[in-house]
């Protein structure tokens, strides 16, 4: 206890300079001890790496996502060989019909899915946090408007509206016969997800902020003259990032399956863009004749979403507010 105690203070102050352990750091330590979290995180990192390195993988693999191998299909357009044409050359076999390589299309499909889902999750989380935070802190008519907007958003049938809106928007911006660029489809998809996906985050943040706004540290900041921006961004939101992070981690897989679902019912991403959902949708026609075609995209999608959900659960446990403080 070398000189750490000052006269007049009886509170024990541990000696030496220690680095403060923030609540986030504690959660991180809990997360690192969780085996499920580690495994699922490793799987996710692998997926992300694959998605990022898609062009490199293409170069190493030697086959592009649009290359066709008609010679390896039989007279009915079915791939030759076992399990949908799996071979050392084509890891996951070939698509019936066009004869494209499934593996490299999955790699690129992963890239598209990640891009769409992550961007949409970031946007919807931002919208949700902003609206929920404002509604929770200010209350009154703004709160009423936001909760009514939430009700309205939930009342709109997402799939049907997305289904109807996508071609309508394409028609609005491009003519009847114009070529619609793939980036437009991706943009519309992200916008639709963001517009429909913010409600749960908003609700969560609103609840948290309502619980926090009467706390005295908020009053202390107000007594110092802090404005709305400081109160929300510096005081309140740092205390809600745990639920925000968790809802973000659940939003990403939700949008991955959402993208697949939309492609599945025929909107979403159009042909040149590789997509999980469309592959699965196309594969269902070959359920009997070429089950391997269903298995590879379906299995990859399930593995991806499963890893996300496991990680989200682990994250929630690690950030559990009841174990905090």
């Amino acid at each position: 206890m070398d000189g750490t105690l000052r006269t007049g203070t009886g509170d024990p102050i541990p000696a030496g300079r220690t680095v403060g352990r923030s609540p986030g750091r504690l959660a991180w330590m809990r997360l690192r001890r969780d085996r499920t979290a580690l495994v699922s995180a490793a799987v996710l990192v692998l997926f992300v790496l694959v998605a990022l390195a898609a062009p490199l993988i293409e170069a190493a693999y030697g086959i592009g996502p649009h290359d066709q191998f008609q010679r390896r299909l039989d007279g009915f357009g079915m791939p030759l060989g076992h399990a949908g044409g799996v071979s050392g050359e084509h890891f996951f076999g070939l698509e019936p019909g066009l004869g494209r390589d499934i593996f490299i299309r999955l790699v690129y499909g992963l890239r598209t899915s990640f891009f769409v889902a992550c961007t949409a999750a970031v946007l919807s989380t931002l919208i949700g946090a902003a609206l929920g935070g404002l509604a929770g802190y200010l209350g009154g008519w703004l709160d009423a408007v936001v909760s009514w907007l939430t009700d309205l958003t939930l009342a709109m049938p997402f799939l049907i509206v997305a289904l109807a809106l996508t071609p309508t928007l394409a028609l609005r911006f491009y003519g009847q016969r114009d070529e619609v660029p793939p980036s437009f489809g991706v943009g519309v998809l992200i916008a639709i997800f963001a517009v429909f996906g913010w409600t749960s985050t908003a609700r969560l943040v609103r609840g948290q902020v309502i619980a926090l706004r009467e706390r005295e540290f908020v009053a202390a900041a107000r007594a110092s003259g802090a404005g709305l921006g400081h109160l929300l961004v510096r005081q309140l939101l740092p205390n809600t990032w745990a639920p925000i992070l968790v809802s973000f981690s659940f939003a990403v897989p939700q949008f991955v399956t959402g993208e697949a679902a939309l492609s599945f019912i025929g909107v979403g991403l159009t042909e040149p863009t590789p997509s999980f959902g469309r592959m699965i949708y196309q594969s269902l026609d070959y359920l009997q004749t070429d089950p391997a075609f269903v298995l590879f995209p379906g299995g990859t999608l399930v593995a991806l979403v499963f890893a996300f959900n496991l990680f989200g659960d682990a994250l929630r446990d690690a950030l559990d507010p009841r174990s905090a403080r």
């Binding site: 709109m156 049907i160 697949a260 699965i280 269902l284 496991l310």
Partner: protein
């Protein structure tokens, strides 16, 4: 209580009104010409012009919307090509199906209800059962199995489950007929046989969510003071769980269930597409593909009505159980 009811009902009507305005605006105001979107190819210009006339697309947008609303409330006269008089909840005329939209709805709604209601009963029972088993023995193998099941259920997309079920039970084992809809009144057995796969895949997906939700709720309730008090009073475990904990934990589940059922009734698009069942969701997809505007409007509105009604019902249930809600 009455004031609360009135406020809620008013909010619901306002929401529905806005949904209808939004949908109307989206499909009538946004594109340059919805009619050319309705038949993308091989439409002769005269037919297009006639359709434009009959849809009233030459009128100002506000008049069009007013007419549409009037049709819903009081019915209206459509042109001769549209079957003439269209009675009270008139949602317009579908050129694609060549019948009044309400007739199409009357045909497809029973299918969706037949899919959703039994599936909902299934997922509630399964979800609550699983959640209870895992919450009562947290950390046990039962718990782990239930968590594993629910995580899988939450991770596998509906169409993948459906595809696998189809592959195994219909195409490989041939235990079940190819999914199809037979009215319950015609032949209950065939009704069930044609829908059982849809029920199972929906139940698998949703029960997973409910198991997680109910487990978390029950664990939280069991750690609360009043349960400890009940235990300290010497009540048996069965009574503690049955009388106190379950009742407290089930309320949020009921809320979510109400909303989910409402949303599902609004269109089990994926399920119906996977199994080729002619329900509301399928009708919506077909309408969008064919550019059948009145039908798109109708499906969106009906879906919104289901969600809003479910919301209202849950609110009322809550208010009946918990008087504090009425005050807030």
């Amino acid at each position: 209580m009455l004031r609360f009811l009135l406020k809620r009902a008013l909010g619901a009507v306002l929401t529905l009104f806005t949904v209808s305005v939004l949908t109307f605006g989206m499909f009538f105001a946004l594109p340059r010409d919805p009619v050319s979107g309705m038949c993308p190819k091989n439409c002769d210009p005269q037919r297009l012009e006639r359709v434009r006339q009959e849809l009233g697309l030459r009128d100002p947008l506000v008049d069009q919307y007013a007419n549409y609303l009037k049709g819903i409330v009081a019915g209206r006269d459509l042109g001769g090509a549209q079957g003439g008089r269209c009675d009270a909840p008139c949602l317009g005329w579908s050129y694609v199906n060549n019948e009044a939209v309400t007739d199409t709805l009357a045909r497809v709604l029973p299918v969706t209800v037949s899919i959703v209601v039994p599936a909902a009963i299934g997922w509630l029972l399964l979800g609550v059962g699983l959640g209870m088993v895992s919450a009562l023995r947290p950390g046990s193998w039962w718990d782990r199995a239930a968590i594993g099941f629910s995580l899988t259920g939450a991770s596998v997309p509906l169409y993948v489950v459906g595809a696998v079920l189809l592959l195994v039970f219909v195409y490989t084992l041939r235990w079940l007929p190819v999914p199809a809809y037979t009215p319950l009144a015609t032949d209950p057995l065939r009704w069930a046989g044609g829908l059982v796969l849809a029920w199972c895949s929906l139940a698998f997906l949703y029960s997973a969510i409910y198991a997680r939700l109910f487990r978390a709720q029950l664990l939280e309730t069991l750690s609360e003071d009043f349960v400890r008090t009940a235990r300290a009073k010497g009540l048996s475990n069965t009574r503690v769980y049955g009388k106190h904990a379950l009742r407290a934990a089930i309320a949020p589940v009921v809320t979510v269930a109400g909303l989910d059922v409402g949303a599902a009734l609004g269109g089990t698009v994926i399920t119906e597409t996977t199994f080729g069942l002619p329900g509301l969701g399928r009708a919506a997809v077909d309408a969008v593909r064919a550019g059948d505007l009145p039908m798109i409007m109708a499906t969106v509105l009906v879906a919104a009505v289901f969600v809003v009604l479910a919301n209202l019902l849950v609110d009322l249930l809550y208010a009946a159980i918990d008087p504090r809600v009425r005050l807030g």
